[in-house]
């Protein structure tokens, strides 16, 4: 009996030839990650555990991105605590306010490679599965334990395979695919499972779209999301990365043999296989208050909006900004829609500048802000008032997620978000 890619990665990190779903294994992660929300509690817990040094200062990454640049004094104190911890522990990969959103930054820096096992103090750690890594989120105490011991326990998840067939229209991408899947299975449809995405539409999808898809695996309750790495993955890795890939880029260590190994075996066991044909798929929108309340955009044309947010760990990459700029070029956003565009990292920001996208945004009347998670979770920036509605490229539309408990968030991809900003209501890109 063969294994899925997820089982193979877990087995390799547990020092075993084989693992089975349901089995509990102790694994040694390649990388741990934390931020200014899970980090401050983790630092206290780390000390309470009697720990002195992190297991490996090169393998603990700290990114201050949620309430940064500091929202207020409390946020400043959280940041200070993390900065002091980073300094005293000799943390190599410490990235301060505005550098970027963790899940955009880590892949960009070449810190994640196919086959890696990554544990992060953030639920959207699942994003890295796009590179063929096993990555999952934990809370502060688990993270502190892993920082102290260099290992953590995990239950081997069952895998659900999602097959995407067909050629989608130009307005449809990774966000629409993943919303479609969550809409089909529900917010607990993949509880405790790994979601494995494949099929011709995934092979055709760019890496940014794959990041978006894996990012939202958690919104179906999944432990992880993953795409089997291919030549596209390697090409992307070759383009990025500086930190670990001192010998010619982070992709360079990956042989074709490793790529073959990083595939689910033909005789592996899936919990189930779910197929989608995306040929005639309309752009998808998740309406309040669950990411599974998914509707095609054409059913929502009467929904008036007050704000648009384009950015986040879900859709803050360069392809997302290019999509938004394609719509906003030569157009103005509605006078009654505040439009906030947030590049996911300084690298994305710089690339957008180079391509003239920032000019397009400012000319359209949108506001461009420094990289931050702020608005996505109602932390700061773009907080909604009672009765207000926002179309957002982020990942959650829970009650009160972006501010007042009587505000509403509609989740969509960057094309629909930009078109809606122009129309002043939820709109298909072809309507503007």
């Amino acid at each position: 009996m063969g294994m899925t890619i997820t089982e193979k990665i877990l087995a390799a990190h547990a020092g075993k030839d084989k693992v089975r779903p349901g089995e509990i294994v102790q694994v040694r992660p390649d990388l741990l990650m934390t931020n200014d929300i899970s980090g401050p509690i983790a630092v206290d817990v780390f000390k309470s555990m009697g720990a002195d040094r992190v297991f490996d200062p090169e393998k603990v990454v700290i990114v201050l991105d949620h309430f940064t640049p500091n929202k207020d004094v409390k946020a400043a104190k959280s940041s200070t605590k993390m900065r002091e911890f980073a300094r005293s522990q000799g943390i190599v990969h410490f990235y301060d306010a505005g550098f970027g959103i963790e899940h955009v930054v880590l892949p960009e820096l070449g810190l994640i490679k196919p086959g890696d096992l990554v544990i992060g103090g953030d639920s959207h750690t699942v994003t890295y599965g796009a590179l063929g890594a096993f990555a999952t989120g934990v809370g502060s105490t688990d993270l502190a334990g892993a920082m102290a011991l260099g290992e953590i326990w995990l239950k081997v998840p069952e895998t659900i395979r999602f097959e995407f067939k067909g050629k989608p229209s130009r307005w449809v991408g990774g966000k629409d695919f993943i919303l479609l899947a969550i809409g089909r299975i529900g917010v607990s449809g993949a509880l405790y499972c790994a979601m494995e995405f494949g099929g011709e539409a995934i092979a055709d999808l760019g890496m940014d779209g794959r990041f978006t898809m894996c990012n939202m695996a958690i919104e179906a309750g999944a432990k992880s999301g993953i795409v089997e790495p291919d030549e596209k993955t390697l090409a992307w890795l070759a383009e990025y990365g500086c930190c670990r890939g001192t010998q010619g880029g982070p992709g360079s260590g990956i042989s074709s043999r490793t790529l073959d190994w990083l595939r689910s075996d033909r005789d592996c066991t899936y919990k189930s296989v779910i197929a989608f044909d995306v040929t005639d798929l309309e752009p998808q929108v998740a309406v309040p208050h669950l990411p599974s309340n998914v509707k095609p955009v054409s059913q929502l044309r009467d929904v008036k909006i007050h704000q648009v947010v384009i950015g986040s760990c879900t859709n803050g990459r360069i392809s997302d900004l290019r999509a938004a700029a394609e719509i906003l070029k030569g157009r103005k956003v509605s006078k009654w829609v505040r439009t906030l565009i947030i590049p996911g990292s300084q690298a994305v920001y710089k690339q957008a500048l180079k391509e003239g996208l920032i000019d397009v945004f400012v000319d359209s009347g949108a506001v461009v802000a420094a990289p931050t998670c702020g608005p996505c979770f109602g932390g700061y920036l773009g907080i909604l008032d009672e009765g207000e509605r926002c179309v957002s490229t982020t990942n959650r539309n829970f009650v009160g997620r972006m501010g007042h408990e009587k505000s509403e968030v509609y989740l969509a991809g960057p094309y629909v978000a930009a078109a809606s900003a122009v129309a002043g209501r939820i709109a298909h890109p072809e309507e503007v």
């Binding site: 509990i24 929300i37 899970s38 401050p40 509690i41 206290d44 817990v45 309470s48 555990m49 009697g50 720990a51 949620h66 309430f67 929202k71 207020d72 409390k74 946020a75 104190k77 959280s78 103090g121 953030d122 639920s123 750690t125 989120g137 934990v138 809370g139 502060s140 105490t141 688990d142 502190a144 334990g145 102290a148 011991l149 326990w153 239950k155 917010v187 607990s188 509880l191 405790y192 958690i218 309750g221 432990k223 669950l290 979770f377 109602g378 932390g379 959650r396 829970f398 009650v399 009160g400 997620r401 408990e405």
Partner: protein, 172 residues
């Protein structure tokens, strides 16, 4: 140690934004977090709940963010246990790690009404509804998880392991 109190009932998919909204995530003090517990679902919950009371919820309790602030808020405002038909995995781990009692039992959820008197024997996984006289058995923990629960959470568990490592080093 037995836990007993009144049942506070909630539905499916109680997310971590409902348990503790994002605006409070700069707060790390458990007492302060407790004041805002469940604010998104029931604004007055923190002032109404009494020590030992039990949250009884449907499927996917604690879905969403990895914020440990959520189980910390529940624990520090006095909630003695959370019984749910199922838990989101990060919340479940976090609760076990910080020593908040979490029990998976769909039957108990379906057959409990708000305000029922609940009594729990954690070691046995036995849930009694004293109001109706019914008794339920929660899903058992895997042995490793039971070990963490027995140690009183992950902090003492890791402390013991680190001390063991030190002893190994000392002996070598």
């Amino acid at each position: 140690m037995e836990v007993s109190g009144r049942a506070w009932k909630f539905g499916d998919n109680i997310d971590t934004d409902l348990i503790i909204p994002g605006q409070y995530l700069t707060v790390q003090d458990p007492q302060e977090l407790g004041k805002h517990c469940m604010e998104g679902a029931d604004r007055d919950f923190a002032s109404k709940v009494k020590p030992g009371d039990v949250v009884v919820a449907g499927h996917n309790f604690g879905c969403g963010s990895s914020r440990e602030h959520a189980p910390l808020a529940l624990k520090s405002c006095g909630v003695g246990a959370v019984i749910a038909a199922s838990f989101a995995r990060i919340f479940f781990r976090n609760a076990i790690n910080i020593g908040l009692l979490v029990l998976e039992c769909e039957e108990a959820y379906r057959r409990t009404s708000p305000g029922d008197e609940i009594s729990i024997q954690p070691e046995l996984g036995v849930i009694k509804n004293l109001t109706t006289g019914e008794e339920f058995k929660a899903a058992p923990y895997p042995p490793l998880v039971a070990g963490i629960v027995q140690a009183g959470g992950l902090i003492p568990y890791v402390r013991m392991r680190l001390q063991g490592k030190d002893r190994e080093k000392g002996g070598a």
